[in-house]
């Protein structure tokens, strides 16, 4: 049970254990590779533990943590740039065994604007609903819907062009 104000270490631990693969997968996709993603998640949860009293309960705890994870993954990515450009061979798994089609889709996702890409990651990697995505990214629910639609449209265009 989540308190109306403040989160407990036990709640955060429970969330960590239940959703770690999703957190790491998303953070890895944002940060650039699996190792950086794992580190970002560890650091993000450490921040969540430290700041747990500041959780106000106005959004699901999961969304509050996701916001921290996304921010930390972005911070990791900023710290690493430009030394490490996003590497499609290492980011979020995949790699040499990809088919040409998979590589193409991966490139299309990578080419999405940051917000669209993050919404895609949170929708499909983290399986968050629109409200939670909105809370995680500090945007309106309507913006989530519009951003996801734009991402779908962009990916569809890429796919149609590839078929020509």
């Amino acid at each position: 049970v989540t308190a109306a104000s403040g989160a407990t270490v036990e709640e955060l631990e429970s969330l960590y254990r239940a959703e770690l693969p999703s957190f790491v997968r998303t953070a890895a996709a944002i940060a650039g590779d699996d190792g950086a993603g794992r580190d970002a998640v560890q650091e993000a949860f450490a921040q969540a533990v430290r700041k747990r009293e500041s959780y106000k309960g106005d959004a699901p705890l999961e969304a509050w943590v996701w916001r921290i994870v996304v921010n930390e993954a972005l911070a990791v990515r900023r710290r690493r740039a430009p030394e490490l450009e996003w590497d499609p061979e290492t980011a979020g798994g995949g790699g040499q065994e990809d088919s040409d089609e998979d590589s193409a889709v991966r490139a299309w996702v990578t080419a999405l604007p940051d917000r669209q890409r993050h919404v895609v990651f949170l929708r499909y990697f983290a399986d968050l609903d629109y409200r939670s995505i909105a809370a995680a990214l500090a945007i309106e629910v309507g913006t989530v819907s519009a951003t996801l639609a734009a991402a779908h449209a962009a990916l569809r265009r890429c796919h149609e062009e590839a078929l020509r």
């Binding site: 794992r38 979020g92 798994g93």
Partner: protein, 308 residues
């Protein structure tokens, strides 16, 4: 979900597979400072950041050197002076150690001695280092208490630079990854020797004279970790070669403490040095400090050169 979403999800699932992950909640707590807040004072070890358990391996030797370089030797200033002169690292050298560590738990009635570990540190900045160390050592405070004292897990290879944010770990057969474990941190900002001298300036080292250790004549140094009561940390001891002043063995009663939900577990730690030497800084010896140089074909997380 819209009718399009399951298709997109399926495609992304294949392209961005869920990575293999290992839970490490204790690491989260350590990073958050939660565990250190619970951990009782543990002498010299408490001065190590919680995340850098591997520093134990290197700094154990460092501590011995520190004891000898600048402590206020009350009973034997002559020995101090000789040690101080004898322990100054040769310029542009590589510190090389081989050692084994014995951990004893009275709680579990276990004693385990690691396989010999080996460490190289370049004494020239950025102080690149590489270690082949028995796993449980650098798992440190995240270790399961019973396993910590009752099982050796085999040797792991780690490498990095002192103070670097990340440590690389070799994952067999040939991959370098960011280690979830610790990284070495120098006891100060940049000047290795100066920081060591500062570390011993607190006046807690005492020369206890000559003694015998496993049939060998050695000098025994007592290290009092508390300046006054209350003090729950027993003194530790360093046994050093009376001629070279290099460490032979360190003994840390209750030298390591693991605190978790099940309680407080104290471990006696002994570090026995098989080799302690300074190597010339030749290209071949420098390469010994470089985990990438040792595994030139390894795939790694920073293949574009961020962590050096």
């Amino acid at each position: 979900m819209t009718d399009r979403e399951p298709m997109v999800a399926s495609s992304l699932e294949r392209i961005f597979p869920i990575p293999g992950v290992t839970e490490d909640w204790d690491d989260v707590l350590e990073r958050a400072g939660e565990e250190s807040a619970l951990r009782p004072e543990t002498g010299l070890f408490r001065k190590r950041p919680a995340r850098v358990a591997i520093a134990f391996v290197a700094l154990a030797a460092v501590a011995v050197a520190a004891l000898l370089i600048g402590a206020p030797w009350k009973s034997s200033p002559g020995f101090l002076e000789r040690a101080q002169a004898g322990l100054v690292p040769p310029p542009r050298s590589i510190l090389h150690q081989r050692f084994e560590t014995t951990v004893t738990s009275k709680d579990f009635g276990c004693t385990v001695t690691t396989q010999p570990s080996e460490l190289w540190i370049d004494l020239t900045p950025p102080h690149r280092w590489r270690v082949l160390a028995d796993d449980f050592i650098h798992e440190g405070p995240r270790a399961d208490p019973r396993t910590f004292a009752c099982a050796s897990r085999g040797v792991t290879e780690l490498g990095g630079s002192l103070g670097a944010a990340r440590t690389l770990e070799l994952v067999l057969p040939n991959t370098l990854t960011f280690s979830p474990r610790a990284h070495l941190t120098p006891p100060g900002d940049s000047d290795y020797a100066t920081t060591l001298r500062e570390a011993i300036a607190s006046g807690i080292a005492h020369d206890e004279g000559m003694t015998e250790l496993d049939g060998r004549e050695v000098r025994r140094i007592r290290y009092d970790h508390c300046s006054g009561p209350p003090c729950d940390q027993a003194s530790s001891y360093a046994y050093v070669d009376p001629e070279s002043f290099h460490p032979v063995q360190e003994v840390w009663p209750s030298g390591y403490v693991i605190v978790n939900r099940d309680g407080v577990f104290r471990f006696d730690v002994e570090v026995s040095y098989l080799t302690y030497e300074y190597l010339p800084r030749t290209p071949a010896n420098v390469a010994l400090t470089d985990i990438r140089a040792q595994h030139p074909g390894a795939r790694g997380p920073e293949t574009k050169g961020a962590v050096r």
